[in-house]
Every structure is written in structure tokens, then in C-alpha cells.
Symmetry: C2
Subunit: 458 residues, 2 copies
């Protein structure tokens, strides 16, 4: 296959935007473990979840048998604003590496939220609006989810309160302004606005915040404010369901152009992008129709898959949320402050955790300077400045392509390029100045987090 046998950039037509989401759980023999109530230790019922989540989203959360769920017209119309997203043949990266591998990336950054997060944000805002709610609360780490949700809420004229991990709030003041431009309120977390925020500030006066802690605050506000619910940008089954548009479009593009991936790579924080990208391919693998190598890439500073425990744990620091069975570093785990990007959640999607546990996928942990090296290499030849999160996938795609160079194998690699790094220039500045450092938690560091994992099973 020569460089331009397939078009450089594969656009689908508007009619190729999927009309249904794909629910990978329907094809899983070992279903992901259900969310459980921290008091009763029993699976959460629909009724028990209603104070926290929107009704329709709870139905999606609990449904592990329906393979395809129709995307409402309003959401399909919104998708048309920025989808289908392109699948791009990374010809210049291949040339730079001198690899026989074929590298493709599914680029989700061409929308104002700057990432794939909008795919689920618009769905969650739609169901909240449909239920007649007044507003939603959420947390955001790197700020991509908060931006996406602010855009979605603005579109459906819902109120939006965002609790933003303090370190990101400080490093990314412009993210906050984007959210404000879309009418959202943004509070650095832990704040003094909530009971749990005040407690965390008292217990850890120098904390830079964590997603687990911001989640607790957002849930507290949602459950104590009339007409509000809480929404989450990753981890949950419903989010992976919405994000399956990424994988469905990727698969459609592969079929249209006869591309057969050997390896599919995605960065993994809570798992929304990776889960969405691989879902339809994983479905084929689960049904025994095809085989693929799936690689989750996580930061070495927050290694849930590669060094975490597969256990029930709290989803949040303040323990106000349900418990999920997942690969976890313990709900008190907070990555080192030198960690620049997102991907800082202590746990991982239950769906992906089960698939990883069952040996259906692999995981790698990479250090941030090597991630920025890959990012800059990619930016200079492919013309897209990637988000630090996305660059984790680039790092491993490059590593795999270089392996092919050694072995001479012509593997086809697809990676998820989740977003752009325009709001991450503080981190790029550190890398450009040579002052970026790496951090790998010691076993002792991790032991502290593990000690907080409750001894719970169903």
C-alpha cells in the first residue's frame, strides 16, 4: 500500500453518522459488575439512582443486553455540527519514522470543546432537558469535559455548574473562560462551597485537587439542589455507550476503504475514549468474528490498569457516590502535582476493567516527557497539536510502529486522537523549556491508596 493508495483523510458522509449507539455489554459473557450502594452493598436500583442521575441515563446505565440503542434525532442533529470526524492516514509520521506500519488516527478534536467529550455531553444534556430539569453539575479535570458540557447545556438552555480540579483551574484559566462564554459557572475544587470540599481542604490543606474530590462536590450540590442532577464525563457505562459513535464511525471508514486494523490504541483515564473507540471492534472479538490487539495507554503517574487492584471501590474521594468494581488505585489516590494532563482518575470504567481482567485487552503506562516528545514529533509532521491525554496514544502508536520497523511487519495501527492541546500550553512550555519532570509512584506510594480500598464483594 503506497502512501496515497487511500485518501490521506477519510471523511464519511453525513449519512454515515451512526443512528444508534452500540452497547458492548450486550456481547460480553462476563458482564461488568453493577454499581453498588455503599451502605447496603447491594446493586443500586433504578429508584436509588434517581436522586443522582437522569432517568433515561439510568436506564442506559443498567441495560447490559440491548446491543443497539437509537440516538434521538435532536442528538443526531447536534452530531452533524462536528461529525463525522475524520480518520486520517498519518503518512508524514510514517515517513518520519521510516516504518512499514500503516498508522491511522481518528481525530475527535475538531469541535470547540476540543475533544471527544462532546459526544456524551450532548446526550446527557438532552436527557436532562427532556426530563424537565433546571440544570446539571459535574466535575472536570483537564477541562475538556467541563467545556463540552457547558457547550451542550448552552445549546439546550440548561444551567451548568462545574467543579474543576484546582490544579487544572490554575494551569488553565482560559478553559474557565470558554466555559463562562458558554454560560457555565466554574468553581475550583476542593472548594469551600460544599461540606465535602471543606472537609477535604481541612484534611489536606495543600491539595491540588483530584477528580474523585471534584465528583464528591458536584454530587453533593446536585442532590441538594432542586431540579438538578449530576452528570459524569467518563467511567460510567452510559458514557461508553455514547462514545461508541467514535468506534462505529471508525469501523465504517475501515470498511469503506478496506482497512483492517491489527492494533487499536487509546489513552485511558476513566476509559470513555478508549471504550468508545474499541467497542464495535471488541464486539467482533467477543463474538469470535475477528481478532484485534487493543492497547490502553495510561500515565505512569496514575497507573490504574497496570498497577491497580480489580476491586469494588468508591468512585469519589468523599464517598458520596455509588461503588464500582474496577481497576483502582484507591479513592484517596491523587497523582503527583507535576502530572500535566488529564487521565488523573483513580479508577477505570467497569466495562474496560472487566475486559482487561478477562484478557481481552492490554495496558501500558508511559512517562510524561516521553509523551510530550511524541506529541511534538506528531505536531510537527501531522499539523495537529495534540492534547497531552491524546499524546499517550501517540507515544505507544510510535513505539509499535518502531517495532514494526525492526521486524519488517506491515501492521495497521489505529489510534484515538481525542483532542487538541490549545489549552495545555503551560505544559508544552515546560517541555519546551526542558523543565518537565516525570513521576512514577513507588510501591509504598501506591500502598497508601490501596489501603483505602474497602473489602467488599457482591
Amino acid at each position: 500500500m503506497s502512501k496515497f493508495d487511500v485518501p490521506y483523510k477519510i471523511y464519511l458522509d453525513e449519512k454515515d453518522i451512526p443512528s444508534s449507539w452500540y452497547n458492548v455489554r450486550a456481547d460480553m459473557k462476563n458482564k461488568p459488575a453493577p454499581l453498588i450502594h455503599p451502605a447496603t452493598l447491594k446493586p443500586l436500583s433504578f429508584e436509588e439512582m434517581r436522586p443522582i442521575f437522569c432517568d433515561e441515563l439510568i436506564r442506559q446505565e443498567l441495560d447490559d443486553t440491548t446491543p443497539y440503542i437509537r440516538i434521538p434525532n435532536e442528538i443526531q442533529n447536534f452530531y452533524k455540527m462536528y461529525r463525522p470526524s475524520p480518520l486520517v492516514h498519518a503518512v508524514y509520521l510514517e515517513e518520519l519514522l521510516g516504518t512499514p506500519a500503516h498508522i491511522f488516527y481518528k481525530f475527535e478534536g475538531n469541535n470547540t470543546s476540543g475533544s471527544h467529550k462532546l459526544n456524551s455531553a450532548i446526550a446527557q444534556a438532552y436527557y436532562a432537558k427532556k426530563q424537565g430539569l433546571k440544570g446539571v453539575t459535574t466535575e472536570t479535570g483537564a477541562g475538556q469535559w467541563g467545556t463540552a458540557l457547558a457547550m451542550a447545556c448552552s445549546f439546550f438552555q440548561l444551567e451548568c455548574k462545574v467543579y474543576m480540579v484546582k490544579v487544572s483551574y490554575e494551569q488553565k484559566p482560559f478553559r474557565r473562560e470558554v466555559m463562562r462564554t458558554y454560560g457555565a459557572s466554574v468553581t475550583p475544587s476542593p472548594s469551600m462551597d460544599t461540606k465535602i470540599g471543606r472537609k477535604i481542604n481541612a484534611d489536606h490543606p495543600n491539595t491540588t485537587g483530584s477528580l474523585g474530590c471534584a465528583i464528591s462536590e458536584a454530587v453533593e450540590v446536585a442532590t441538594s439542589t432542586d431540579g438538578y442532577r449530576y452528570v459524569l464525563g467518563s467511567v460510567l457505562n452510559q458514557v461508553l455507550l455514547h462514545q461508541s459513535v467514535i468506534g462505529l464511525e471508525t469501523k465504517a471508514a475501515c470498511e469503506k476503504y478496506g482497512i483492517k486494523p491489527d492494533i487499536i490504541i487509546g489513552c485511558a483515564g476513566g476509559g470513555s475514549n478508549l471504550g468508545g473507540l474499541i467497542s464495535p471492534f471488541m464486539g467482533e472479538k467477543l463474538r469470535g468474528e475477528a481478532d484485534y490487539q487493543f492497547i490502553a495507554v495510561e500515565p505512569a503517574s496514575c497507573p490504574s490498569f497496570t498497577r491497580g487492584k480489580f476491586a469494588y471501590d468508591f468512585c469519589d474521594t468523599g464517598k458520596v457516590c455509588p461503588m464500582a468494581k474496577m481497576y483502582t488505585l484507591g479513592h484517596d489516590f491523587i497523582p503527583s502535582a507535576n502530572h500535566a494532563g488529564g487521565l488523573r482518575y483513580h479508577g477505570m470504567s467497569s466495562i474496560l476493567s472487566q475486559l482487561y481482567h478477562d484478557g481481552m485487552m492490554e495496558a501500558r503506562a508511559v512517562e510524561q516527557t516521553s509523551v510530550f516528545e511524541a506529541a511534538e514529533m506528531f505536531a510537527r509532521v501531522e499539523g495537529i497539536l495534540p492534547a497531552p491525554e491524546s499524546s499517550h496514544a501517540i507515544r505507544v502508536a510510535i513505539d509499535e510502529a518502531l517495532k514494526c520497523k525492526e521486524t519488517g511487519e506491515e501492521k495497521t495501527i489505529i489510534m484515538g486522537l481525542t483532542g487538541t492541546g490549545y489549552f495545555d500550553m503551560t505544559a508544552y512550555e515546560k517541555y519546551n523549556d526542558g523543565t518537565m519532570t516525570d513521576y512514577i509512584p513507588t510501591d509504598e506510594d501506591l500502598a497508601k491508596g490501596f489501603a483505602t480500598i474497602p473489602n467488599v464483594s457482591l
Copy 2:
């Protein structure tokens, strides 16, 4: 025509990327006046321009007869990385305004430079490389051109020195980091590195800089450094030529979907976007084949078209550049420091100046708070956070659509959406905080600039 009779977003195919640029000068009876030498006051010859510009670009600058100029394959391949750009039907904006008008926007922001500037940057870098040069210098105002050139130089492995208007350098530190990530050096202008920079700093100790002044510095460095030439992101004929890809694609999309624009609107600083967008349509008008209303939109704080003089003037503050005949506010004119975006050049493309002088197009000046009001309105419904520059066009598109609401006319309006505002959040913050102010120069303010325009004619 109902909202979805045409697809919301019109993508062309890769094969619809033009293979030639269109040179509107070939169809102009009154040709734009040539650049003249400030000492001899005679049209600059090819040889006289060679110390400043790349040879092939000089040929393009001087060629006012060839209607189509072939785009080299290397540039066409680079265009494939981010083109064709979508023409989008602004259905949600129409709905919000309740207008019978049909509004479309040609969106040039989906590339890392964040604007249309890349269309010319890659061409100029290509010709510099082909000539065997070591590097290029340039100026940048809002930072979009500098970013685009840094990307283009990185792609062709050329050195890139950028002089950035001081006020933008300070307001947009992250723009600087993007350029550095692409390997460029960035210096705030006026600097102490050049003779002219030192003189301007001495004469105007509190200056926030201007494009005219940054141009002088960049030209001084280019002409005094071996293997370097100077490149410019707007104003010049060659730049409008490269930017004709915008208009050619827009025309192709119109033909594909049977859209017949009544009004075509673009923001105008030096004229690169507007000139590129309207060129092929203007060609039809010049040849008497069709009629369109063209509207240039400029900031009230820098009103070259609406309040400037049509005269020969220096292109730069330091008078080291050739002189051009154009609508100008005087080469010493510097817009008020409260002016947030780009579009701060004292002059205007000679091509557009001639067309405006001949009554082939109109111009409007708008104030920045009304521009940001339009920007936020657009962002919330259309899902794209526009650059302040682009938002000038949005402002007038909205105004025209509201006129249609009054008259009941179903006019079709196309506007150029040149880029995204991700690096302009300082300005958005001011607007969100209610602290943004407007500035309209008094006649006395302008008189000072006019006094510097030399009394020169051919």
C-alpha cells in the same frame, strides 16, 4: 428551503481541493497599482524585490494577467491535511434570529494555526525551501499568521523568526508556545534587536507595537541575514492568490448544492481572508456573469476602508518596505491599546483597495463590544468559538439577516469564518466581565496618521 434541505455541513471531497489558485487581477480592468520603490518612486522590478522576497513569490506578485496558477503537488498534499474546509449552514443561528435569510459560513479554523493563514504560509514556505533558503522572517499581530508560518516552516524544515506585536505577545503567551512547539523563535516587537526597533522604542517608549513596526523589524532581519527572506501573511497580491482556495472551494460547494449567494461578507485587516473568499465570485462580477454584494468588515478602531485615504503609503512604520497604493490610515497609525483582536494594520490589500475604489464592494466598521456580542451568540448556538477577527463578519451577517427579518427577504448570506478564538480568551474574559470598552478614533486622531502619508503618485 427548509432547514435541512441542504446538509447542515457541506464537505467537498478531497478531489474538490482546487489544483490551481485563481488570480482575480487577470479579470480586473483597473489593475491594482504596483509596489513602488520609496527612493525612485518607480514600480519595483523583479531584481529590486529579490533581496526581500522569494523569487517565485515575486513572480506571483507581479503577474496580473494569468487567471489560474497551478498549485504545486507538495502544497496540494499539505492542503489535504486540513482541506477542503466545510461550508456550514448556520441553521441554529437562523432559528435564533428568526430570520428568513439563509446564512452559510466557510469555516477555516479546523487546523492547528486556528485560521485561514495556513493556506498562504505553506505556499510561501514551500517556495522558500525550493529556492534553497535557510529561513524566513515575518511579523505577526494576533498570532495566527506566526503560528501558521511556524507550522509551515516546521513541515519543510526551514528556520522561522517571528516578530510579534508586543500587545499580542503579552496578551497571548500561549500563542508564543505554539510557535515554539513548532520550532520558531518569537520576539516581541518593537524589540531592541534591530536598528528600527531601537529607534521606535526610543521615539515611542510606551508603544504596544503595531504590525507596521513588526514588519520593519522582520524585513531588516531578513535583508541582513544570509539565506533569509521576508514573508508576509496578508496585504500582498501573492497572499490573496493563495487564499483564493477559500473562495474556489466555497464556489464549488455552492455549485454542488445549488446555493446562490446574494451577499458575501468577510472581515478585513490586510484583506487576505476577504480577498481569498470573494475572488472567484468577484471574477464573475468583473466579467459581468453574475452580481453579488460584497461587504468588508473592519474594526471601528482601525477603519482603513471606511475612513482611510486611497493613496501610496509605506507598508511599514520604519519605511524599509516598498510603498503600496491602498486605503491607508497612515503608516504611523497604531490602533488604541484597548483593541483586542487582529485587523490592526494601517493599510489594506492593493487589490481590494482598487475594487473598493471602483465601487465593486462595500465596507462597514463595527465596534468591538458588538462584535463580541455576536461572537458569543454564534458560539452558543453554532458550537464554534470564533476568533475576534472572524466575529466582525458574524456581526454584519447577523445585521443583514435581521434586516431580512424586517423586509421578509430570503437572502442568502455567505460569510468567512476565518478562525477560532481559543487564544483570545483574555478578550473574551473582558467581555464576560463587562469591562470591554470601545474606541472610535476622532477625526483629529486620524489626521495625525494622514499627515504621515507621503504625497506620491505614479
